[in-house]
Symmetry: C2
Subunit: 229 residues, 2 copies
Amino acid sequence: MHALFVYAHPEPTSFTGALKDAGVAALRQAGHTVEVSDLYAENFNPVAGRHDFTSVADVTRFHYQTEQAHAQEAQGFASDLVREQQRFLKADLIVWLYPIWWGGMPAILKGWFDRVLAFGFAYAEGRRFDSGFFPGKRGLLCLSTGGTRQRFSADGVFGDIHTVLWPAQRLMIEYLGMDALEPFVAYAAPRVDAEGREAYLRQWQARLREVAGPCAGDLTRARQFISGK
Amino acid sequence: MHALFVYAHPEPTSFTGALKDAGVAALRQAGHTVEVSDLYAENFNPVAGRHDFTSVADVTRFHYQTEQAHAQEAQGFASDLVREQQRFLKADLIVWLYPIWWGGMPAILKGWFDRVLAFGFAYAEGRRFDSGFFPGKRGLLCLSTGGTRQRFSADGVFGDIHTVLWPAQRLMIEYLGMDALEPFVAYAAPRVDAEGREAYLRQWQARLREVAGPCAGDLTRARQFISGK
């Protein structure tokens, strides 16, 4: 299995950074491959605009989806988008890692969706949800919150975490035709002690191993063992 | 009454641009004042980082809220943030105008929240929701969607619009202690004809006049008329 981690945090020593590192290590140790889009390190520009394209469909008026569809036909996406689109296409599992800011993704990650997953490339008229482009691809949110689990419950001030994450789960991941896995949420990350953080990292690694399953190499070895070869 | 429009669309002739222009005109005609943050025209950078600050709290590790709190103490916000914070403080009503992309705000607007509404400036420990900094300030989302009203209903593929907008209404506007007004949504904006668009613009102007109420000048004139002076 091949995974793409799309990681959005400005500080490498952050807890989100630790989740990224622990996740990469867990998958690689299990024999899987992982690529990381480190949006801050790569200085990703999240602002949609004409710089998304080397092609032009309409020079007089900028209609984003029209330019996206044209670029898909004309191979006119800018190099940063081509790179991210190739990374996205290659992956069986995409993991988005970020801290919740203002109830959602940091802008640098929101703009990854806006720009990379372009009309024509990632969806089209009548090609959304069950008829989307990417059945079989799986999507997993991995996030840290400042608020406690209680605050993200139905009775909590922020509301149920599934309501908070609805736009991402439904209008991003499922919209693409992908399978939206249950998000991994490290609640109150800044408030837990070292032991609590370590527990989160171990839970996250276990979760990823479960999601990824045994790698092909392991299966081959298992079959060889069973067949006695 | 003084309003701030935070407007996020890359194309001035877009329908979102028309909503912005119609809204500004309606409020000014009613005697109110309006300022516009045109994020694309002003080339707003939505990426949170050290460039948010002229001050430094910790040179070894970038912890965003720590730097924000320090900047609030040290008057260390970068000039673009100071400008937006001043605009925000002055306004009785803040209107955010944007097209829904991937179930939420374009990145350029999401980053306006991330950067401008800093810890220490816009909220603090124990100063959120009912004990937030900005009681009496009102917040209003004005957005256009590609999808129809039916698709944004409880039975629709995107789910109820109130669920989709929950993160913005609850975890942004109400989080600040503001009064979150019912959003204005122009559904299926690219699909309606010229008459439908005109109807949306008129509804939007009527809604804004209702929200804004009579201006102080009007009240003075009304009182003068009643008292015969």
